[in-house]
Amino acid sequence: MLNAFKDAIYEAAKNDKRIILMVTDNDIGLSHMQAEMPDQYFVEGISEANTMGVASGLAADGFMPFIINIASFLVRRSYEQIVLDVCLQNRPVRLIGIGGGFSMAHLGTTHTTIEDIAIMRAVPEMTVIAPCDALEMKKLVPSILKWPKPIYIRLARYGKPVVTKEESDIDIGKAVVLRQASAGHKSVLLISTGAMTSRTIKTAEELQNLGIESTVLHLHTIKPLDEKAIIEQARRVPLVVTIEDHSIIGGLGSACMGVLMNNMHPDLPRLHCIGVPDKFIHVYGTQESLLKSVGLEPSQMAKTIYQLTK
């Protein structure tokens, strides 16, 4: 997914001189930009607080800085600067968080972040995006360049499998139906984001084998939330399940539940959030093994959801 982002942004930067890449202590494969576009590519070193402030200062004078860092360091280390220097002053800074969720789990707990969506969406003016595949990331770039507010973009490590379609429209804040259940009393609405969307589609396939039809509503934008699409889909089903590789506190599930409770009473369907439990995960290994340890593998999720339909 990072590759899709960097290829698209590199091309855009050739003509859009507002774009400045602020890469922290990472080599994302764009170091050639330093020679080609020296005013648009800076290596920031390991100094998150300063980097965020510098980005705010650049944005105050018309630039659109993209700060690229490992998600856990980006959101935790510079939270005050994100709130005060970027969001309070509504500077169009783009925060590119590499490895949201467990996608950098091989490096341990310090490199995983399961609270980033919660703390980013809690800040006024912040927009929160989590694309589900490389194609979607690439297609979002034009909207990202037009959006006037700060954005946090949670990038999963890999852009595959690609589950979105080249020809479909995309815009910040618009949900995408990736699978529509045929009408029936056993249909379920699955709402997912980011790297969990491809796993949600697999879950839907497993549910189909168990006789349950499901709709998959993918939210690449968690804030602002496409409330209309969520409510419209939720009205058709007796069960809504949110799926995310993020804490059950404050993420996609919390966002969706709030919308449904505020808008659908007294006709609420059953609601359930699948996510990472409120604890530090002391399992070390691949992203897959960590997801499995907290019940986020498609077969596990299908079982959980199947039980909820009983």
């Binding site: 607080a49 300063n50 200062g57 005060l84 002053q89």
Partner: protein
């Protein structure tokens, strides 16, 4: 620091403007505001390029009061220069006033950024200095920090960064009054040797009396002090400068409930020649 500098009429006038704010609010960062006055006076009278009627003029010099709690001094000079009305100073820190006690961007013309949390001004100033260089603008960036603020790690991250990028259009100014809210700097987190610290971080350093208007003028007119280096001016100041019973007492960093008698004592001291 010994208080040998006699204030001239303009310095007393600016303090009288400041006093209008405290008279209304009956509270404020008394000591922290008074140590700043001559630094701001010289910057706005003699050094910076700006247009009060066009506060966002692209080629303006950028001023960031990183020690935002000293903002009543900034409001006073902005009022004196016509960015805001003089009468508005009386609303400082009152309900509904835009003259908030830690200045905020987009509220008062001439306030570039929001800096109520310490350690934010220098990184933002670095970004503005970088922007000016990229856009080939003549703008210089001035960031005034408190000494207690230098406890913050982000200040030193920004110092490393600005020296690395040779931001000679950036000037940090330290209001070094030696006292922070809980006591003397040297008893909390010692800063000395401060000049050597900044020099070792790659800054060209000058150390001066921050109430000596002529020296401030002569020093700031020489900016940048060294080609290819950011500059820092360590201004030795007196917390509470100009009101003798406030001077050099950290307990006057912030005061609530200023009574009539205290306000009139302040007033009469500022009237004296």
């Amino acid at each position: 620091m010994k208080n040998e500098m006699i204030m001239d009429e303009r310095s007393r006038y600016l303090r009288k403007l400041i006093l209008q704010g405290w008279e209304g609010a009956r509270k404020g960062h008394i000591g922290s505001v008074l140590s700043l006055v001559e630094i701001l006076r010289v910057l706005y009278d003699d050094i910076m390029n700006y247009r009060p009627q066009e506060p966002l003029w692209p080629d303006r010099d950028r001023f960031i009061l990183s020690k935002a709690h000293g903002c009543l001094a900034l409001y006073a000079i902005l009022a004196d220069k016509g960015f805001i009305g003089i009468d508005e100073l009386k609303t400082y820190s009152l309900d509904g006033s835009r003259l908030v006690a830690a200045c905020e961007y987009n509220t008062v013309p001439g306030v570039e950024v929001t800096t109520g949390a310490l350690g934010h001004g220098l990184p933002i100033g670095v970004g503005m200095a970088l922007a000016a260089r990229i856009q080939k603008r003549p703008s210089r960036v001035y960031v005034v920090m408190g000494d207690g603020e230098l406890n913050e790690g982000s200040v030193w991250e920004a110092a490393l960064y600005s020296a690395h990028h040779k931001l000679s259009n950036l000037t940090a100014i330290i209001d070094y009054n030696k006292l922070q809210i809980a006591g003397p700097n040297e008893e909390i987190i010692g800063l000395e040797p401060l000049k050597e610290k900044w020099a070792s971080f790659g800054f060209a350093v000058e150390e001066i009396d921050g109430h000596d208007v002529d020296t401030l003028k002569k020093t700031l007119k020489r900016l940048p002090f060294s080609k290819g280096k950011p500059s820092v001016v360590i201004c030795h100041t007196i917390k509470g400068k100009g009101i003798d019973f406030v001077e050099n007492d950290y307990k006057w960093h912030w005061k609530n409930s200023l009574d009539d008698e205290t306000v009139s004592r302040m007033k009469s001291l500022l009237e004296e020649e």
